[in-house]
């Protein structure tokens, strides 16, 4: 298929996506309104209207919207590609994901049955009223959560990833020096240091990294409101005063009144219905964020975001390109008829232990709930979902794990070998960092610098690179340890690490 038809396919796809959107309606309205203006002439109507839209900033908004569509979901490369290929091209990965999902859903259902708690129930009026009055301080509620267990913990998920096998790949021939010492045994294509150096050229040791310097004035990127430019800027780190605006710009999350309205509707949904997953969320927040030195302050915000998130059916969109499929459950009393199946929870995402840590760092940037919500949701459907679903995506957790292991094995073979010998497979320690994109492990200012690069490069790869860089940094101490426990101890506290120097040295100063 030639480039021309691929391009027109993409264009058609994007047009389809944006047609009928709120932005479309707004631009149409503005275009109609501008007809009254004197500088719009009939004989040059098209050019004049176009110029008007450009100077009034609407073209830029359209540009940002198109950019967003390109980022979030690559248009199909072939008109005949089945939808499931968009989610995940490799059959064995799809199968593994489906299996995993079944397990998770089963766990949820049996919890519901055991505890006698329905998956969803309507709240009685008195309870609704109480919740409304307590909306801003749900953290003071002390429901009895002792019998609730998280549906799964990262280490359960790791076991599944370790057991992944490509049935078409015979690795038995691969014994010896070139064999893979790590836990991930699937042959995905991951980048090595020379390739990473090219891809992350802006992180070169000789290039200044921001986040340190003052920017007393508003950067032109913000003034221009250009998503693509903001993304490029973010590669070298955002200045603390500008980060909130820049991230919102990159994510095209721009304070539309319908966003605030949508958020209000979601909060109404929370008040009306109680979901079983709500208890899971409560428990997760209480166990993780509430005990964190940085994030405990924002406990209430976390409930406000996550409870709404569970009910947001707009999130279902992202399953088009997520290898996962939203779990379905059956409404009680209506039998097992497929037509009576509903997605559960409404957004199709079952939270697991540590989930709230995806939201927590954002509380340092946004103190208005609906804005915080918008930005989080966009971050989730672009990046975070990849950290807990099985796929071949280069930003997917499987690739990150493999990349981490390969980087370590290639550049710190002695260390890897030693750790392996003492029963301390590096991935077993690094996995929990990567699944959370390091949230809760790094100090907040450092975490934000890391997430600047996730956004700037539109990829989670940097997370794997950092994980390897941390091991490289503590290599000396790690060589001395003789057990998994002591290895964990050496790597228990990452709160003093400075991420950018570590990454830069690992990528650009490692001898190859």
């Amino acid at each position: 298929m030639d480039d021309g038809s691929e391009l027109s396919l993409s264009v058609a796809h994007i047009v389809r996506r944006l047609k009928g959107s709120h932005l479309h309606a707004q631009i149409e309205r503005r275009a109609k309104e501008c007809l009254h203006q004197p500088e719009i002439r009939l004989d040059s109507l098209r050019e004049d209207v176009r110029r008007f839209l450009r100077t009034s900033g609407w073209e830029r908004q359209l540009q940002n919207a198109v950019y967003r569509e390109l980022q979030v979901q690559r248009p199909p490369s072939h008109p005949a590609a089945p939808l499931e290929h968009l989610k995940e091209p490799l059959a064995y990965m799809r199968k593994a994901q489906a299996c995993w999902e079944k397990r998770v859903l089963k766990s949820l259902n049996s919890m519901s049955a055991e505890l006698g708690v329905p998956l969803a129930r309507m709240r009685p009026a008195a309870e609704q009223k109480e919740l409304t009055s307590k909306w801003n301080e749900m953290g003071t509620d002390e429901p009895d959560l002792t019998s609730f267990r998280p549906v799964f913990a990262p280490k359960d998920f790791l076991e599944v990833l370790i057991s992944l096998r490509n049935p078409n790949y015979d690795s038995s021939e691969d014994v010896g020096v070139r064999s893979h010492w790590g836990l991930i045994q699937v042959p995905l294509d991951v980048r090595d240091i020379p390739q990473l150096r090219r891809a992350y050229a802006e992180l070169n040791l000789t290039t200044g990294q921001l986040g340190i310097d003052d920017h007393a004035h508003i950067h032109p990127v913000v003034v221009e409101q250009d998503s693509a430019a903001a993304q490029q800027y973010s590669r070298q780190g955002c200045s603390t005063g500008l980060r909130a605006d820049l991230w919102a710009l990159i994510l095209n999350s721009n304070n539309q009144p319908q966003d605030a309205m949508h958020y209000e509707q979601l909060t109404a949904g929370v008040v009306q219905h109680d979901l079983l997953v709500d208890s899971l969320i409560y428990k997760d927040v209480k166990l993780t964020a509430s005990n964190d030195d940085y994030y405990f302050v924002f406990e209430d915000f976390l409930y406000q975001v996550l409870l709404c998130f569970s009910r947001d059916t707009a999130v279902l969109e992202h399953f088009k390109y997520n290898s996962a499929t939203p779990p379905r459950s059956f409404v009680q009393g209506k039998g097992e008829d497929e037509e009576c199946a509903v997605v559960y929870p409404p957004n199709g995402v079952i939270p697991f232990h540590g989930f709230s840590m995806y939201v927590a760092p954002l509380c340092f940037l946004y103190n208005e709930p609906s804005k915080l919500y918008s930005v989080f949701r966009e971050m989730y459907i672009r990046y975070f979902f990849r950290l807990h679903s099985i796929s071949s995506s280069s930003s997917g957790v499987v690739s990150l794990c493999l990349q981490f292991e390969r980087l370590l094995q290639t550049h710190l073979p002695q260390l890897f070998y030693h750790l392996r010998q003492i029963g301390a497979q590096p991935l077993r320690i690094a996995f929990k960092w990567m699944v959370r994109a390091f949230s809760g492990y790094l100090s907040t200012d450092q975490l934000l610098l890391l997430w600047d690069r996730i956004l700037g490069y539109d990829s989670l790869e940097i997370v794997a690179v950092l994980a390897a860089a941390v091991f490289a940094f503590r290599a000396e101490n790690l060589m001395e340890v003789t057990s998994l426990g002591s290895a964990e101890a050496v790597l228990a506290d990452l709160s003093t690490l400075k991420v950018m120097p570590l990454i830069q040295i690992f990528l650009f100063a490692t001898a190859i």
Partner: protein, 396 residues
């Protein structure tokens, strides 16, 4: 060096004792020839009371200035600030400038405050100007949040109304302890919907010339309960008061983090949500208030040395360590003739807040604002932005 420093303390806290022992100082009793005495407030009071007339010898050092209560007692503090402001006004100092409403441009850092019962009538006059306002009552001699309450009706402080000519140091037998009453600020900055205060440590090594250091690792203390200005919550001290001592008994007190944030977290949050300029200005103003208060002789003398969490213990240990390094560099026996200029390396996590001597020296040389000692304060200066800080003449 004449020998090891001999120390005494009547406060049995590990953060102190560990620091003395690690320097291999020798513990003695108060009747011995001691060099260094870390005293509790009561001891200071006894030792330096007017009757005893105790004087330190040249090789002795204590952890509080004898007049520390000028800083501890709230009524004395307010008196000192009011007097200081009047003095500056009399001198015609630009610092005492007022705006068209009579508010101080640069010295407006204390809300409207009166002493009770002595200023009762003045208070009532002010109260009547705005009868729906809330006021906060604080006992003069107590700390850690004890005895504080809020009022919004005159009837709530009836018992301070009679005998307004009684002196503020009223005897306990009359049943009317001295209080200060201030206008309550009901729109505080909230983070995560919660109210918080700042606990910053300042070390003063000499008043004349004034040399003071601020510990860089201060912290914010959060209320565990959501802040609400509603009157029904006036009685809920967990909402309004942030002292850990009070918060510790609330149901939601979390023993892992103690409801605290480091000042650098706070700074990151502010810069991220409000911008760098506003944040820099805020910190400049905070430092400004500290120096002016010290000049008016007004600082609280009794930081809690009780550690509530492991992190807290580490912080206080390091704080005492850095403090001792400044006041007794090289672990030397104190000598009152020492000029109290510690070498830069000895500062640890303290930064110079104000050094009057250095200030005076730089005035004789070339006048370059960037090299003055005050420049080492975290922010890069206000770069001439409009704010409460006056230009050039500031630090004198």
């Amino acid at each position: 060096m004449a020998g090891k420093v001999k120390w005494v303390t009547d406060i049995e806290k590990s953060v102190l004792i560990n620091n003395f022992e690690k320097r291999e100082w020798v513990q003695v009793t108060e009747n011995d020839d001691w060099n260094f005495y870390w005293m509790s407030i009561q001891t200071i009071r006894n030792v330096f009371s007017v009757d005893t007339g105790y004087r330190l010898s040249d090789d002795q050092m204590v952890n509080h200035f004898p007049n520390h209560y000028e800083l501890t007692r709230k009524d004395l503090m307010i008196k000192n600030i009011k007097r200081y402001r009047k003095e500056l006004e009399k001198e015609g100092s630009p610092l005492a400038e007022k705006d068209e409403n009579g508010k101080y441009n640069y010295l407006d850092f204390v809300p409207v405050t009166f002493m009770l019962p002595s200023d009762y009538n003045l208070f009532v006059e002010e109260y009547r100007k705005n009868p729906s306002s809330t006021w906060i009552m604080k006992p003069c001699g107590k700390a850690q949040g004890k005895g504080i309450f809020l009022i919004n009706k005159l009837s709530q402080i009836k018992k301070w109304s009679r005998d307004s000519r009684t002196s503020t140091f009223v005897a306990a037998s009359s049943g009317k302890e001295a209080y200060v009453i201030s206008l309550y600020i009901d729109n505080p900055l909230l983070i995560g919907g919660k109210k918080f205060d700042l606990r910053l440590y300042v070390l003063v090594t000499t008043y004349r010339p004034l040399k003071c250091y601020m510990y860089k690792l201060g912290f914010c203390r959060f209320c565990t309960v959501k802040y609400t200005p509603s009157t029904s919550e006036l009685d809920n001290m967990f909402v309004h008061l942030t002292n850990v001592a009070i918060q510790k008994h609330g149901d939601d007190y979390n023993h892992v983090h103690g409801g605290k944030w480091t000042v650098s977290n706070f700074r990151l949050y502010l810069e991220s949500t409000r911008g760098k300029e506003v944040t820099s200005r805020l910190f400049d103003q905070i430092h400004w208030i500290m120096v002016q208060s010290l000049k008016a002789v007004a600082v609280n003398a009794s930081p809690s040395l009780t550690s509530s969490t492991a992190n807290d213990r580490i912080l206080k240990y390091n704080l005492i360590n850095d403090t001792l390094n400044i006041v007794a560099p090289n672990g030397d026996v104190p000598d009152c003739r020492w000029n109290r200029s510690p070498p830069r390396e000895a500062l640890g996590n303290y930064q110079v807040l104000y050094d009057e001597e250095l200030q005076a020296q730089s005035d004789h040389g070339e006048r370059d604002l960037r090299t003055r000692s005050g420049q080492s304060l975290g922010s890069k200066g206000t770069k001439g932005s409009a704010g409460a800080r006056p230009p050039a003449a500031t630090w004198k």
